[in-house]
């Protein structure tokens, strides 16, 4: 959350205040945009536009308010706008374009999914780096704990305990995703 002074400086466009907001929420905003748009370039554009729109509307933000839900909503709407514009641009002969083409986008998803992405990304960022690395290897790369231990040159027991700690935190932090965004 921003203090009154930080919010005032953000509204004024002061670069250090803008950077502070970006560093707090940039990864989360990008995760939302990337989740909605297949193209990293379009996600980058949507993320940039999100912060610009947030700055334009900063006068409506109350000091002390958590910006996360507000930014997540702006990010989602902005990514959908980018998606719609790209859909209009590429509405012809899509059958001739391979699915992996970077210019293609995926359809917008439900707003609940946007908040889920935000919260999971935030929970991952809160993990210590060593635990987060193991979670990434296990889930993103589908590795077993034994394989992770070999990759990281760590004892299997160390990997097991770090994995357990990390997933315990994630389960506790994210166990109520279906209940909505706080």
């Amino acid at each position: 959350m921003l203090t009154e002074d930080e919010l005032r400086r953000f509204r004024a466009g002061e670069s250090d205040a803008v950077r502070a907001v970006y560093r707090e929420y940039g990864r989360l905003v990008f995760a939302v945009c990337r989740n909605l748009l297949n193209s990293p370039q379009l996600a980058e554009e949507a993320a940039q536009q999100t912060f610009l729109k947030a700055w334009r509307s900063a006068a409506t933000v109350e000091p002390g308010r958590d910006l996360a839900p507000w930014l997540a909503t702006i990010a989602r709407r902005t990514a959908i706008d980018v998606y719609r514009q790209e859909s209009r641009e590429t509405s012809s002969a899509l059958d001739d374009v391979p699915e992996s083409h970077p210019a293609l986008v995926q359809a917008p998803v439900a707003i609940e999914r946007t908040y889920d992405v935000w919260q999971v990304r935030q929970a991952l960022d809160e993990l210590p780096a060593d635990e987060r690395q193991i979670v990434q290897l296990q889930h993103l790369e589908g590795m077993t704990q034994t394989a992770v231990a070999q990759r990281l040159n760590l004892p299997v027991g160390t990997v097991k305990s770090r994995s357990y700690r990390a997933h315990k935190k994630l389960a506790a932090r994210l166990g109520h995703l279906r209940e909505g965004f706080d």
């Binding site: 980058e44 912060f51 590429t90 889920d116 991952l124 979670v135 889930h139 357990y164 279906r178």
Partner: protein
């Protein structure tokens, strides 16, 4: 072994461990035969595992994005207040402020934009993107070496195009803040109405409306001062809904959403769940 009298009578530590290990999804881990997570728990953890396996979740923003965000904001902050783009609320869709072409597409570059490629011809998407970038007269992304000047030039070109087009083809817009009735307590929403050649395009976003299906649905209406109702579309849930109206919100300024059934009765059921008044932007 003690009889299984239900989840709350089980060893909570064993159950928690089973959830944690299931979430980790490790084939090397023995879950144990005495712990049954149940369908709901597995479904919830499967959703979370699916998210954790999504490459998009782990994608890091480009290092240059921070500088480009700072530069974009600094460039606009340096403009006089009347030269800046208007603020956009988080729950309204604000498209690019250019009039649509004859095909209904909105393109940067205004009247000098090239024609849309014929539908039967294959499109080289990479070339189309480069062509549009050249037509736009701006780059999509700024880079550190030319951030301030490039961003200012981008904004100046975009604003010039906006002013030019607004002089010749203004696009009207109405906003609606929707309030819930006692039939949908806790629901909130908003709608944006844009004038196009095809009619009024309405984008609705509402949360807290339970999904209706299986022959029941929501229907949106516009109503004038005389109580005349015009239907503008039906939908199942309030997320990212697009509706169309052939009447102007200037005259039909009240928007309502009702619960309906596919029973052959065309009139409104009267079961209003949300209502609001269109206000011109």
């Amino acid at each position: 072994m003690a009889p299984d009298t239900g989840r709350h009578s089980m060893d909570e530590n064993a159950f928690d461990r089973a959830r944690i290990n299931y979430l980790a999804g490790d084939r090397d881990v023995d879950l144990g035969g005495d712990v049954d997570l149940g369908g709901d728990d597995r479904a919830e953890l499967d959703d979370l595992r699916a998210l954790l396996a999504d490459p998009a979740l782990w994608a890091e923003p480009p290092a240059a994005l921070e500088d480009s965000v700072v530069a974009a904001i600094a460039a606009e902050a340096a403009l006089p207040a009347d030269g800046r783009a208007p603020a956009a609320g988080p729950d309204t869709v604000r498209p690019f402020p250019f009039a649509p072409d004859a095909a209904g597409n909105v393109r940067l570059g205004g009247p000098t934009a090239g024609p849309t490629a014929p539908a039967e011809a294959p499109i080289d998407l990479a070339a189309a993107r480069e062509s549009r970038v050249r037509r736009d007269g701006r780059r999509r992304f700024t880079r550190p070496a030319f951030l301030i000047a490039a961003a200012a030039a981008v904004v100046a070109v975009a604003l010039s195009a906006v002013l030019l087009l607004r002089d010749t083809t203004p696009q009207r817009r109405f906003d609606v803040a929707l309030s819930a009735t006692e039939l949908a307590p806790g629901a909130t929403g908003s709608a944006t109405m844009l004038k196009t050649d095809s009619g009024w395009q309405i984008t609705l976003e509402a949360t807290g409306l339970p999904r209706l299906d299986g022959g029941t649905f929501y229907q949106a209406w516009l109503r004038n001062a005389d109580g005349v109702l015009v239907p503008i579309g039906t939908f199942n849930e309030g997320t990212d809904v697009t509706l169309w109206a052939g009447v102007s919100p200037e005259k039909f300024s009240t928007m309502t959403i009702t619960k309906e059934s596919a029973d052959g009765v065309q009139d409104s059921s009267g079961q209003r769940v949300m209502t609001g008044t269109a206000v011109e932007d």
